[in-house]
């Protein structure tokens, strides 16, 4: 899939003859080279994050906070997840329009709980944003998506979802190729009172243990 757009890839304001903007595609590569991040929408909430250039990620998060606060000030209610995703996507897209700005080198998985229930969105460096049942960005995203598709998300609670996500991350991790990894998970669901928080330590440990056992069972075949 990888092609070099010699001459047409020097600026984000240049189209190639076959209608591609290479700078945006290179920005996506920055995301693909980072650790895998998964987000899934379960029955009662979201389990998820940012993958890619950390500094870019921080900018996006800051912008998201600012949009959310300004919406609350003007409209008097918390920002709906859909609205926040659209605003973020607009902002990310903005940075692909001018030659004096570079595209964001990070993909954002946005999980929220508003008055319409839990929702999951993903924003890519190109500015594309869709609503998902399950999403993955980063190195193992293809394999992660395959694994996610096997899950029955609409019947799963967030507690169960946490275990499943841990299993997938562990499964994807290639001992030989990748460096050692640290698993971090956060969720927003009924159990966390619709507030976003890090998955509680005891549940995290339970998930890690279950994931390790699942891996051993696989290896044992």
């Amino acid at each position: 899939m990888s092609s070099i757009g010699t001459g047409y890839d020097l600026s984000v304001t240049t189209f190639s003859p076959d209608g591609r903007v290479f700078q945006i595609e290179y920005a996506s590569k920055a995301v693909d080279n980072s650790g895998t991040v998964i987000g899934i929408k379960c029955k009662d909430g979201i389990v998820m994050a940012v993958a890619g250039l950390a500094a870019d990620g921080r900018q996006i998060v800051a912008r998201a906070k600012s949009e959310a606060t300004s919406y609350q000030s003007v409209y008097g209610e918390p920002i709906p997840v859909k609205e926040l995703a659209e605003r973020l996507a607009s902002y990310v897209h903005l940075c692909t329009l001018y030659w004096w700005l570079r595209p964001f080198g990070c993909g954002v998985i946005l999980g929220g709980y508003d008055r319409d229930g839990p929702q999951l969105y993903m924003v890519e460096p190109s500015g594309i944003s869709y609503r998902y049942f399950g999403a993955a960005v980063g190195k193992g995203k293809q394999a992660a998506k395959t694994e996610i598709e096997k899950l029955k998300l609409s019947e799963m609670t967030c507690r169960e979802g946490v275990i499943e996500v841990a299993k997938i991350i562990y499964k994807l991790h290639d001992e030989a190729k990748d460096k050692a990894f640290e698993l971090e998970m956060s969720w927003v669901c009924d159990e966390s009172k619709q507030q976003h928080q890090k998955v509680p330590d005891d549940l995290l440990e339970e998930a890690k243990a279950a994931a390790r056992i699942a891996l051993e069972e696989m290896d044992a075949d």
């Binding site: 003007v74 008097g76 209610e77 859909k82 609205e83 659209e86």
Partner: protein, 235 residues
């Protein structure tokens, strides 16, 4: 006695406006008098203005100020509805009005009562008086005529009325205020908003109940000359 009327004075709506919640929605009510000093510029005004399909506002104070504020908010809410992909909530409408009212408090003179129904909160009433405070209440009264209604509401208001009870209550209240407040008069208009939609009603003056010392309406005192009553001046 002031016989010099300035017919070019700014229009003010003396007004009585009311908003009440009931079991299932809200009822908004208002009189219909717009005055320019002592002259009644419009005796059949409509002070209950639409902001969106499901949110209406009762206007009082300066007619111009309240109209321009309503126009701005209708515009903002229209854009908001497009972005959101669904109807705006009454809380959002009230908040937008509050921001305009508060930030321009030195220039505006308008008291508003916002009432609407949305699928998240049901029927809600928000009062936004002169300074730009925003307060959510089970019922709200405003305008010059409201002074005469505080005692009435204290005694007669109850939670969870039916739609018809609530509407009759509002009509009675506006009618009482019209009887005592010189700056309120004309007809009583009501707007009922609930999950099924919006209903507008109209109560002409002769359909309203008469209060203490109010006389029956008469076409002309000259009719007495043609009547067969032996005591024509015995009123």
């Amino acid at each position: 006695m002031d016989l010099e009327m300035n017919l070019n004075a700014s229009h003010s709506m003396g007004t009585t406006i009311i908003g009440v919640t009931y079991n299932g929605g809200v009822v908004l009510g208002a009189d219909s008098r717009t005055s320019t000093g002592m002259y009644v510029a419009n005796r059949a005004s409509d002070k209950i203005t639409q902001l969106t399909d499901n949110v209406y506002v009762c206007r009082s104070g300066s007619a111009a100020d309240s109209q321009i504020v309503s126009d701005y908010i209708r515009y903002f809410l229209h854009q908001h509805t497009i972005q959101l992909g669904q109807s705006a909530t009454s809380k959002v409408a009230a908040n937008l009005i509050r921001l305009l009212s508060y930030n321009n408090k030195n220039m505006l003179e308008t008291g508003l009562i916002v009432g609407g129904w949305d699928k998240y909160e049901g029927g809600k009433i928000y009062a936004i008086p002169l300074g730009g405070t925003l307060i959510e209440q089970p019922f709200a009264i405003g305008g010059s005529g409201s002074s005469y209604l505080y005692g009435f509401f204290d005694q007669a208001w109850k939670e969870g009325m039916t739609k018809d009870e609530a509407e009759q209550f509002v009509v009675k209240a506006v009618s009482l205020a019209i009887a005592r407040d010189g700056a309120s008069g004309g007809v009583v208009r009501t707007v009922i908003i609930n999950s099924e939609g919006v209903t507008r009603n109209f109560y002409p003056s002769d359909k309203l109940q008469l209060w203490h010392e109010e006389l029956e309406p008469q076409n002309s005192l000259l009719d007495l000359l043609n009547s067969s009553s032996p005591e024509p001046m015995n009123i």
